[in-house]
């Protein structure tokens, strides 16, 4: 039986995590994600779980390391400056191959930045972020429903790969209220698959060690190669993107999260004006839907990448397209969201450039 509830995005994350079997949450207050720890502090004790407000984001992520290493489904959440503090811990978690979920409700930066929505943590989320050669699997929801769905999936993917998974939202998604349906029955914690590698006390078996230190060159390279194989497997098994009306498009918008919603409105406006506009909305930012984009690029159709940053995901789009068709960029920062009209105007100029310039020779911005 499914339940339909009206919830804030941040609350949907909390409820979805609990339904996914998360019984431990470690966090530290920062705007605009405070509803997540607040929700967890209220709900977790009701289901026999533990909410703990850590002394810092650094402590919180290391508590996550300990709990994940002990085999529990565990989550932390923060927003950009706090996520930067967690990066050391995330690197260790990736190195020790521990499954956990980290939510980033992105706000503008750099530094203390602002508290309005942004997508300026794309590089940090998808390219490693902390030190060393590692990746997180990154999910980018675009609605409150998807905030819930991506959070639930994040726990499954984390366990599947023994890897940290990030849910990358933004201030707008966290604060907005929309209906959410929890269609799946809650996960029974006792029925989750066992984690024989976890530190649960060495009863009747050899001790388990959770560790990221490998002083021998051979051992460390072996770890790095194993991680790389894992990331390749993510690319072959878990790429997700929504592709809308791209078959006969004159121009294709590429956007994720909140920005993709504005692009949808812009595409509708454009269609009523006779323009054929497609949309590619990456849902996994790592692994990135490169093959979908490179296939579409074969037709030579121009891309317009729209982000709440001055151009981060656009680099991955260009890598995927690899010169096969023009890629242009439009973005706003500081907490501003481009309006559908702004995007429409930009699309029109992309098409105008297209009629004047040969493929691949379009100016960048």
């Amino acid at each position: 039986m499914s339940e339909r509830l009206l919830m804030k995005g941040n609350e949907a994350v909390g409820e979805a995590a609990i339904r996914a079997g998360c019984r431990l949450f470690f966090g530290y207050p920062i705007t605009p994600q405070n509803e997540i720890p607040e929700y967890m502090s209220r709900r977790l004790p009701e289901v026999g779980g533990v909410f703990l407000q850590a002394e810092s984001e650094i402590a919180a992520i290391n508590m996550v390391y300990g709990a994940a290493g002990a085999g529990a489904r565990v989550m932390t959440s923060s927003s950009s400056p706090g996520i930067s503090l967690k990066m050391e811990g995330i690197s260790y978690i990736a190195g020790a191959e521990l499954p956990c979920v980290i939510v980033n409700m992105v706000r503008g930066g750099p530094g203390l930045g602002g508290i309005q929505p942004a997508q300026s943590d794309y590089f940090q989320a998808t390219k490693g972020g902390g030190h060393g050669d590692y990746r997180m699997l990154v999910l980018a929801p675009a609605s409150v429903q998807e905030m819930a769905d991506c959070t639930a999936d994040a726990f499954e993917l984390a366990d599947k790969y023994r890897n940290p998974v990030m849910v990358l939202g933004d201030g707008a998604l966290g604060q907005m209220m929309e209906p959410v349906t929890f269609s799946k029955p809650p996960v029974s914690v006792s029925e989750l698959p066992p984690k024989p590698w976890a530190t649960t006390g060495a009863r009747g078996r050899a001790p388990n060690i959770v560790n990221s230190l490998h002083l021998e060159n051979e051992e460390l390279e072996k770890l790095n190669l194993r991680l790389e194989a894992k990331y390749r497997r993510m690319k072959s098994e878990d790429v997700r993107a929504e592709v809308i009306d791209c078959d006969d498009a004159d121009v294709i918008l590429v956007a994720y999260g909140t920005m993709s919603r504005v692009c949808r409105s812009a595409a509708n406006m454009a269609r009523s004006a006779g323009l054929r506009v497609g949309i590619v909305r990456p849902i996994t930012l790592f692994p990135f839907p490169s093959e979908i984009l490179s296939e579409l690029a074969k037709k030579g159709v121009p891309f317009l990448v729209v982000e709440l940053s001055l151009g981060q995901m656009v680099e991955d789009v260009k890598l995927a397209v690899n010169g096969a068709s023009p890629v242009q960029f439009y973005g706003r920062t500081g907490g501003f969201l481009p309006t559908p009209k702004e995007i429409l105007a930009r699309m029109e100029s992309v098409l105008k450039d297209r009629s004047q310039a040969p493929c691949g020779a379009v100016p960048e911005r």
Partner: protein, 248 residues
């Protein structure tokens, strides 16, 4: 024939990387004996720090996690909150616990986490080659205080046991030394108590152990033990700073 002395079950039968004359070996043994005697080896989970004892996960014969520099009390918190039935301990040096990890140790103690912390204070950064630690004594020469620690520049060494004993939550706080057999016996008793307050769910247990570093102090092992007695103990007084009723 009766066997009167052997390797504790909680200590793995492997060579360690510690320098000759270093007292980490003694402290490892005391921790292992405490685990054995409490009968908790099969539910013990240890947390190794960054520093000389970074490889402690190879030396204790129980489940272990290796933590980022200074974060062992947070990692131990995560383990204990996930697995309250486990007996969780961290083993940390003075750079790890008293410098980069001060926030984590203070707040784990303030929350009264049911964990046991073994804090090995040798007044220097050993693993990185003998730099000044927060616990380095005034006047003590290190590679980053080549003219001796200058209080006007670097302040005074931090007394962690006293600092943590000022908090309301901790159940057991003590400072011991392992420079001679009598003190080793006292250290053993303190470590046992620090585990017992966890096992009895009485609260946070912490033992600071004064330790020698012959290599980085530039002293022969026996001189180094003398240096603990003559220079460290006067600044770092031994004793129990906090106990709960019925502890130990």
């Amino acid at each position: 024939m009766t066997r009167v002395f052997g390797r504790p079950a909680a200590l793995a039968d492997v060579p360690t990387h510690y320098c000759p004359g270093c007292t980490h070996g003694i402290i490892h043994r005391l921790v292992a004996e405490a685990i054995d005697e409490a009968g908790v080896l099969d539910r013990a989970v240890g947390v190794a720090p960054v520093g000389c004892s970074v490889l402690a996960y190879n030396y204790f014969n129980c489940d272990m996690q290796q933590a980022a520099h200074g974060r062992a009390p947070a990692v131990a918190t995560g383990i204990k909150r996930a697995r309250p039935e486990c007996v969780v301990f961290s083993y940390q040096g003075d750079g790890d616990l008293a410098s980069i990890g001060t926030a984590e140790i203070i707040h784990a103690a303030a929350r009264g986490e049911r964990i046991t912390v073994i804090f090995v204070n040798n007044a220097i950064y050993g693993m990185t080659g003998g730099q000044m630690a927060p616990t380095t004594l005034v006047g003590q020469k290190t590679t980053t205080s080549p003219r001796g620690r200058d209080a006007a520049l670097a302040g005074y060494p931090v007394r962690m046991a006293e600092l943590l004993a000022a908090l309301e939550s901790p159940a057991y706080i003590a400072r011991v030394s392992v420079h001679n057999p009598a003190n080793i016996n006292r250290a053993k008793r303190a470590i046992q108590k620090a585990f017992e307050v966890q096992i009895k769910d009485q609260g946070f247990g912490f033992v600071e152990v004064l330790s020698s570093c012959p290599t980085n102090w530039g002293l022969a092992p026996i001189e180094a033990l003398k240096w603990v007695e003559e220079h460290m103990i006067p600044y770092y007084p031994l004793g129990e700073f906090k106990t709960v009723e019925g502890a130990g």
